[in-house]
Symmetry: D2
Subunit: 369 residues, 4 copies
Amino acid sequence: MIVIMKTDTPNLEIQRIIQELQSESITPEKIVGKHKVIIGLVGDTATLSPEHLQQISPFIEKVMRVDKPFKRASLEFRHGEPTEVSVPTPNGVVVFGQNHPIVTVAGPCSVENEEMIVETAQRVKAAGAQLLRGGAYKPRTSPYSFQGHGESALDLLAKAREVTGLGIVTEVMDSVDLPKVAEVADIIQIGARNMQNFSLLKQAGAINKPVLLKRGMAATIEDWLMSAEYILAAGNPNVILCERGIRTFDRKYTRNTLDLAAVPVLRSLTHLPIMVDPSHGTGKVEYVPTMAKAAIAAGADSLMIEVHPNPAKALSDGPQSLTPEGFDRLMEQMEIVGQTVGRWSKKFSLSTATSFSTTKALSKSSLAK
Amino acid sequence: MIVIMKTDTPNLEIQRIIQELQSESITPEKIVGKHKVIIGLVGDTATLSPEHLQQISPFIEKVMRVDKPFKRASLEFRHGEPTEVSVPTPNGVVVFGQNHPIVTVAGPCSVENEEMIVETAQRVKAAGAQLLRGGAYKPRTSPYSFQGHGESALDLLAKAREVTGLGIVTEVMDSVDLPKVAEVADIIQIGARNMQNFSLLKQAGAINKPVLLKRGMAATIEDWLMSAEYILAAGNPNVILCERGIRTFDRKYTRNTLDLAAVPVLRSLTHLPIMVDPSHGTGKVEYVPTMAKAAIAAGADSLMIEVHPNPAKALSDGPQSLTPEGFDRLMEQMEIVGQTVGRWSKKFSLSTATSFSTTKALSKSSLAK
Amino acid sequence: MIVIMKTDTPNLEIQRIIQELQSESITPEKIVGKHKVIIGLVGDTATLSPEHLQQISPFIEKVMRVDKPFKRASLEFRHGEPTEVSVPTPNGVVVFGQNHPIVTVAGPCSVENEEMIVETAQRVKAAGAQLLRGGAYKPRTSPYSFQGHGESALDLLAKAREVTGLGIVTEVMDSVDLPKVAEVADIIQIGARNMQNFSLLKQAGAINKPVLLKRGMAATIEDWLMSAEYILAAGNPNVILCERGIRTFDRKYTRNTLDLAAVPVLRSLTHLPIMVDPSHGTGKVEYVPTMAKAAIAAGADSLMIEVHPNPAKALSDGPQSLTPEGFDRLMEQMEIVGQTVGRWSKKFSLSTATSFSTTKALSKSSLAK
Amino acid sequence: MIVIMKTDTPNLEIQRIIQELQSESITPEKIVGKHKVIIGLVGDTATLSPEHLQQISPFIEKVMRVDKPFKRASLEFRHGEPTEVSVPTPNGVVVFGQNHPIVTVAGPCSVENEEMIVETAQRVKAAGAQLLRGGAYKPRTSPYSFQGHGESALDLLAKAREVTGLGIVTEVMDSVDLPKVAEVADIIQIGARNMQNFSLLKQAGAINKPVLLKRGMAATIEDWLMSAEYILAAGNPNVILCERGIRTFDRKYTRNTLDLAAVPVLRSLTHLPIMVDPSHGTGKVEYVPTMAKAAIAAGADSLMIEVHPNPAKALSDGPQSLTPEGFDRLMEQMEIVGQTVGRWSKKFSLSTATSFSTTKALSKSSLAK
């Protein structure tokens, strides 16, 4: 249930209402939007009456139920206002969100050694990536496959951050590793296989770092938003959703089925930023550039691309990794499509978190119904 | 197996080779490409030796096996040269193919009456569509749903063609209706549910009209190309493949899962033109424009869009149909993305079937590996 | 909507009510159950009021709406009474139904030649099969695979019938072949790939032979029952449903995923008899016997098993075909499980269509809720 | 790679060979089968030559490669001998395995309070269950649903164990809870959503309690066996696999698609015991008894059934829980089918772990090929 306050409601009155609504079974949450303040109510709201709540204050504009099972993640809960996830990095603040330029995250599947991760970081930075990805802990189907270098790889990521100024995105697989990972990572990734590791989600909700939540291979859009809700409900509002392909009956030419329609569907359901990972989504480097461009046209706020200095010798996911040269060329192409949809910034948004005025090439409001 | 002839091989020599290769178990097929002539061999080629064949003539450049189960549909069979499907319409020849501008097919799910189909045809033509779609025979899940007006609807499509000059795309559900449908249609559609109706495929292969083959809901890319192969093998080289969504575990917010990666995958496997139908692919009008643009970025050669003068009162598929006004706006947006990828023509390609020189905004050859 | 008549309602009164209910938009259908007569109403029943209908005659016990989208196929439409599909064969009438012994249909994927089909028929008959399956028209993924011997294979099936007295089950792929196939077949099979070939379904509904409707690879239970409804609505009440596996993400060790829970689900939704085909369901002969026994325990009314005199040399589906010896052993095992569930008859039910008194080993009524 | 020793090889010689094979990259593992001793080699075996190894000792009968990606979990690794997982409980040792009677695990989804868990334990024990299931930590899609009583529920399970003597099966969701859970549980359950939580798998491999590994919703058979391999590779040989339904396109009438063919497929691939959970597999109590019987006919070694004293008021999974009365009746039916396949014991196997001589109603060896 949400309580929408009138514009220019005094702050004290908002405090008063929040106190009045607070109870054992209800937790009010203040959401400051661009034009309005909203008070979100989560908990046992079934017995509350919107009409009755309306009486609490003359500054209340409207009281509405959120009928989706995901509450905080729903678009209604922020009354339609998109969330901006701001990530401070040595190079400046990177902002993920619908009204900001597309953010590119790039790097290798696994951190293999210092030279390769630093070199890759330098190359993807030069090409325009704002964040570096790299796995320290690797979820591998086989116990006999390379499992990642773990803690020592975290140090290498820190080194790459120091050298390039790029923020770091890396995966956590176990809640016991969360403190260590959070020390190095600027964004904590929760992988597809852990999307319903609810214990990990709760603990990721208790830290002070943005969380990148990948979609599970058999997760419906609703399952996925419910998993985001775990993180939000635990107190962390900075969640980025990443579509990376679902499992279907056809696995011959692609590793997964990239569900690009998830982008507009999520846009109609949630305020959270949306990333697309065409590397895992297709599993084959030859299809990555095309699907990266399609993802931009579909409205993605961010792209994650696997890049490796020598894909043929990669310890994991070589077949889906671009070379640094391939990534250079991809960024040129992405720029063209990104500019077309008014979502590209030459300066890569590495400035301050001020809202970005999109070029109005494709105005949303002109879409049909 | 294919025999690639040297440039400037005399025609008589090609004839001689074809005659020599012809046998009970082998059918040679002459394919005239832009730069070269290829002789495709289908049949019991397992016992043939490429080295031996090479000896037949000094004009033979190379002999290669096609190792895919689909032969005529494979890219190798045309040595990488894309097929151009030319459709003569009263307004001019419409050409589907990788080196041509994107072709837009639009219209209602079902032909309901003369006024609605003529009006829709006029509106979609004005917005830039080159072909009109409209169902006379409708495959419906329930026997109690509207089944299409059948033969009388074919007359109304003929009327709309006469009034607007637009070519007609309409579905055939039974081989007994094929002659009637082929009389009116400029492109014969075989729907998702009949994609493995092999009897219908064979008969569609025997007629002299292009065939639009929609992907079945549980069809792998390979199944689909094998179905195209049925049509090609029966003698009809003019097949267009249409991705319209596959069936997956998530059917809550979209009707199907639109597999846009099928576009680059098909491009790497086949020479046939590729269409995308975001209306069936998503099943919801609000997601159609976004996915239409994404399909263009993914490299589609053609788009099929459902448009109805009054979607709320449509006899079928109302929820996924754009209004004519919505379609106007969509075409403006498609144009922007289409121009970005160098695949849009102000004149809508309604001229002659001369090859189109794409603007080189995104050069294919610069893609990574 | 159904009208349940009181026991001992005079026939004339039933006639009178049917005449009164008949209208342009409503078709009444008389269903004679064991204890009661029901009048089923299909058509535009939305405007009818059950209370109002009740007034038509004092002999009406109750009027109820059928709220499923499938009407005639629903359990309610027959007020819970199972359909018995009786198939006259030279050896006697074979009855498919919930209160009858399990019927075994066996034979090769394709009819290859007279010797093999007659020999197989003799062997499966000796082992206890009541019907012979064998394909004359074969739906094959590739146009270059063996397509079945067509019309001449129908003659061979007729020959096998003559020699053994077994009834014939064979597939029709095109409505133009329906008369020819119906001449030879005792049961017409519509295959998985044609489950939504609505034109074929309608025509199969107009003939006077039982129809075996296989489940499509991507068909939900509801889609499948709607396809059965097409046949029922066209006037043919004798439909048998055959589960043969659906397509899922795991296709490595089995060809399809056999959905055995479909058996109890269908039992709770429809009155139609249920067959299971573990040969296509698993695609591997080593798993067929186990799944055949599981299907019996799951409550199947009939089993379809592929048997070939020499699977290694079969023109199609060899890997999933039992040898005649393997089938002998399977029948012994099926008998044990069949007797346990009270659904086996030493005489194979080849007598008259009188209802079969099941041994009460597992009484249905004792099941939990 | 496995080294099969000749019968009656002296123990010292086996020790010698193990020492000789031990190296940095190879770990030999001694497996004592009924008739033979096998030395399993896992690690970098690619460079080893079977012929060369054979020379090490005249007591070596044969050296064979395991070509599956799962090594320890493969049937070859134990040369075809099934694993027996022995679970000591106050009532005696319960043995899971192919040559033992079927083990029934029953109980509520969640432990709600002392009275309900003790009462349920008493009831399921009386009906013949050998182990009690009950969730302390519950993986729930929504953060707002009941999450289980956690640690306090573990105490209640201990209480139920004390009162009834039944062994306890309960789920662990986070590796930090593993020590606490292992203190109470006789079998540790890893749920479907954590099947690829590799960190948890590794730690479950390091404890001294049997692990019940449920199949993930999108897990192929191979993925599943690779997850079992994680546990085995970490040193815990006592893994039970539990099929509980996969996610497919049809979710209307059942919650999941129970893949019963997984039972014979696993049997042909692995030596590990196989359990089936028809409660989660169907999600509806009305289909549970039928599918439980089908699972027995399919060869399951164990059944897991949800039972709740008052399903309508259950805090979770009420719709799929049997009442204690329903469970009484189900056990009677399961007994009939279990006896038919020679896998039922009146004394419920609560004795010692001596191998069980199955009644030879259905001899495996008579199956066809």
